[in-house]
Amino acid sequence: MNNPLSSILKLPAQPLRLAQHPRRRLDPTLLVFVLLLLVLVALVANPILRLVWESLRAGDGSITLQHYADAFGKQRNLKALLNTLYLGLASTGMAMAFGVPLAWAVSRTTMPGRQLIQGGVLATFVMPPFLGAVAWILLAGPNAGWLNKRWSELTGADGGPFNIFSFWGIALLIALYAFPLVFVFSKSAFDLISTEMEDAAAIHGASGRQVFRRVTLPLALPAIVGSAILVFLEAISLFGTPALLGIPARINVATTQMSTFFEHPLRMGTAAAYSMPVLGATVLLLLLQRRLLAKKGYVSVSGKGGERRPLDIGPFKWLLAAYGAFILLLSVALPLGILLQSAFARAWGKGLAASNLTLANFHYIFFEQMTVRQAMLNTVLYALAAAAACVVLGIVVAYVTQRRLLPFPGLIQFMALAPFAVPGIILAVGFYAAYAGAPFSLYGSGWLIVLAYITRFLPIAATTTGASLRSLNPELEEAVRILGGGRFMVLRKVVVPLLRKSLIGAFMLVFVIATRELSTAVFLTGPQSRVMSVLTLDMSEQGQYEILSAMGIVLLLMTTVVVGIGMKLAGRDFMLRRH
């Protein structure tokens, strides 16, 4: 019998270079550990600790509470904090009213156009809030606003009823661009509740309304409340919308108040002290949100089994669809329309007319005005750098903590996620304190912004890459090791190729978010390191709405292309995944 085995047995052996003595395996990993720890300390711990330190440090280096007295001793400053609270509550309430019904309708009912609504929510998510605010200045500014003009034409009245420069205007704008958070969280909770649980209530005699009130809603409630907390935190830490709409309306909030400390003369200590209540509230509310969502038994929502049958809600489905369409009209369609019109107009107020059409605005931003061109270049460059660094750091953090390669995995994990609890504008104060002056003297350099971006978006990158790494069976890596490959080969041959999609997804997610980041950048940009978001504020103040719109359209176009590529490469839902 011709046995193929015998020929294999006769082949010359290729033994591995076996180690002569066992050795401690720690040596190279210790180096990585020290390096990673240094990076995390520089990016996360130092700015946050410097913030606290600055709030307590007197000019001569002694400890003082004077900054707190300055920050909270003025009526105006306290009023701003109170306004922040009211604005947070109002916009959270509105965002819930927008997000929860739509999430339920898309997830559980036969409402027509569910795909469209979902796509519209994604589009809302892509629209930077400050651009939405600019668009709404054009739509609902008193007198000149497009909506007010149409109103006067229809009614013959002198001027219209809409005024976006008002408390409720600001609240609406915040809610319009924060409700996708509520939608995503609530929808994933509704998605997980199996119809069988509702059927079980029905078979025991509950009516349709009772089923919703006593089964569906309570099951989804922790996720919904969790998302409300996130929206509230987003609302109180937002800078762009209050700056664009609140300052003309003389409505001062915490973030805009903080920016006054950065005007001449710079009052760093006061700014640091003033950020403490917002920082404290953020940390506490995030802990609360964690606890709500950690009650897994409650959101039991057994993943498998149990079909999910869409509920027929009769004529209400048309009402809900109209409601959804109305919200998306406000958040996407109208703003996009007015921005487009304005970007191609000689004067935006003259409306759509052949004589008013021009490409001059685009020519201006690309070829004439170097400030704008530089800002666009900077935006892309900084976002690319931050996204790349975030993904690398994120996967390293996720890998070493999940595979327990380094000592103190909890500490590493904590440091990587901690920036999530620091609002962008407060992080900027910390970075300014830590790196703007000597010995680093990074103020005005793009590096300062890139570093701050990396810190700000590291939690996003770490959680997305961490989630995908968790889906990778460690045995795939052990198989490499036992066949003779080292840790580096494990990463090169198995981990990176298998996580390629998720890594690309994380990269694009961070890139998109970084291109529109405003609050982190606002104190850190110098004349040479402007980004588009910061430039928007200046141009809005100067009333250059046509050029501003052209720039906004370019930003949106770029973002849309990146999101499109991301959906192709990393799966349709890569932007809307719940982390």
């Binding site: 046995n3 085995l5 294999i8 047995l9 290729q14 052990e478 066949l483 003779g484 041959k493």
Partner: protein, 353 residues
């Protein structure tokens, strides 16, 4: 000279001892199974042999060279071993041929040589036709063969298998079982095989180490484990058995309610209290009192279950206070519950454990 030696191997996590002073030696080319219930420490032991886990104390040695000790370990990639994982761990981003050739590529074998050896190996496991497919296109059994080919083609000093058949369905499991044994007979690689399935271990192993609570209860050939169990745990874990308490005095075994001559034991009777294991199929049950000298005892039938190929009876010795005895009889023996019957013990089928 024993090739793989585990020497007083221990692993503790905090206060929890997972592997407890384990000693085991494998001769060159031997296939030994680690058999035990889940949580008995068998996988931890295997992963210590592989170098994924460092021992708390004790050593892992190959040919007298210490690979693992409390002071440090040779990393897995420098042990010259290979392993088959429970999940197969076939890399989905590589073709069948790339998977199988991986270990050779790491060893810097020339490309043409890799190709030749991979193809030969794929012939052995009958996967040549699928060499350029990706794992997602393969069935579970085919993936298993890829894993086998991948770990054997590098001709490791030691081959480790971690419950390799637990994810296959029953038919395929038997087929792969004989495949693994066939490959072992051909290549004679020193092999450690972890399983919780006793019939799998019996079918495949030269010797079986039965583990319980981090310790080895008994290491023996499958025949000896079944017929000469040394501990109650082994007797119960390998096949079904009756464990009966007895006292041994002057060539007589006194059980609860009856006595038997000590000569029925397979070994010399130890003195004093003893636990005796006797398998249900080594007992006979009959309606009639057997001829004198056959040593039958009087029992009452208290329960029965029909299993197709046999009856599974539960009987209670006439004067016993508690412990019932399980007996398997051939299907033609029909006794109603409540009836009197006689139980006959075969000589040398009683084992003191």
């Amino acid at each position: 000279m024993p090739q793989l030696t585990l020497n007083q191997l221990c692993k503790t996590y905090g206060k929890n001892s997972v592997v407890d002073h384990l000693d085991l030696s494998l001769a060159q080319g031997e296939l030994v199974s680690l058999l035990g219930p889940s949580g008995c420490g068998k996988t931890t032991t295997l992963r210590m042999i592989a170098g994924f886990i460092d021992p708390t104390s004790g050593t892992v040695e190959v040919d007298g060279k210490v690979l693992s000790s409390a002071r440090g370990s040779v990393p897995p990639e420098r042990r010259g071993m290979s392993m088959i994982f429970q999940s197969y761990a076939i890399w989905p981003n590589m073709t069948v041929a790339e998977n199988v050739g991986f270990g050779l590529a790491v060893r810097k074998v020339a490309a043409a040589e890799i190709r030749r050896r991979v193809d030969e190996m794929l012939d052995v496991v009958q996967l040549r036709a699928l060499r350029d497919r990706y794992p997602a296109e393969l069935s579970g059994g085919q993936q298993q063969r890829v894993a086998l080919a991948r770990s054997i083609v590098v001709r490791p000093d030691v081959l480790l298998l971690d419950e390799p058949l637990s994810n296959l369905d029953a038919n395929l499991r038997e087929e792969m079982r004989s495949e693994i044994r066939r490959l072992h007979d051909e290549f004679r690689i020193t092999t450690v095989y972890v399983t919780h399935d006793q019939s799998e271990a019996m079918a495949i192993s030269d010797r079986i180490a039965v583990m319980n609570g981090g310790r080895i209860e008994q290491v023996d050939t499958p025949w000896a484990l079944y017929n000469r169990p040394r501990t109650p745990f082994v007797a119960q874990f390998i096949g079904r058995t009756n464990l009966l308490a007895a006292t041994c005095a002057s060539s007589e075994l006194r059980f609860d309610g009856f006595s038997l001559p000590a000569a029925l034991l397979d070994d010399a009777a130890p003195g004093g209290a003893v636990t005796v294991s006797v398998r249900p199929q080594d007992l006979q049950l009959s309606a009639q009192r057997p001829a004198d000298g056959a040593g039958g005892i009087e029992v009452t039938v208290v329960g029965r279950t029909y299993l197709g190929d046999c009856w599974d009876y539960t009987v209670m010795p006439a004067n016993a206070s508690g412990q019932a005895i399980k007996v398997n009889t051939n299907p033609s023996v029909l006794l109603d519950v409540g009836r009197r019957a006689w139980l006959v013990f075969d000589s040398r089928k009683l084992v003191a454990v």
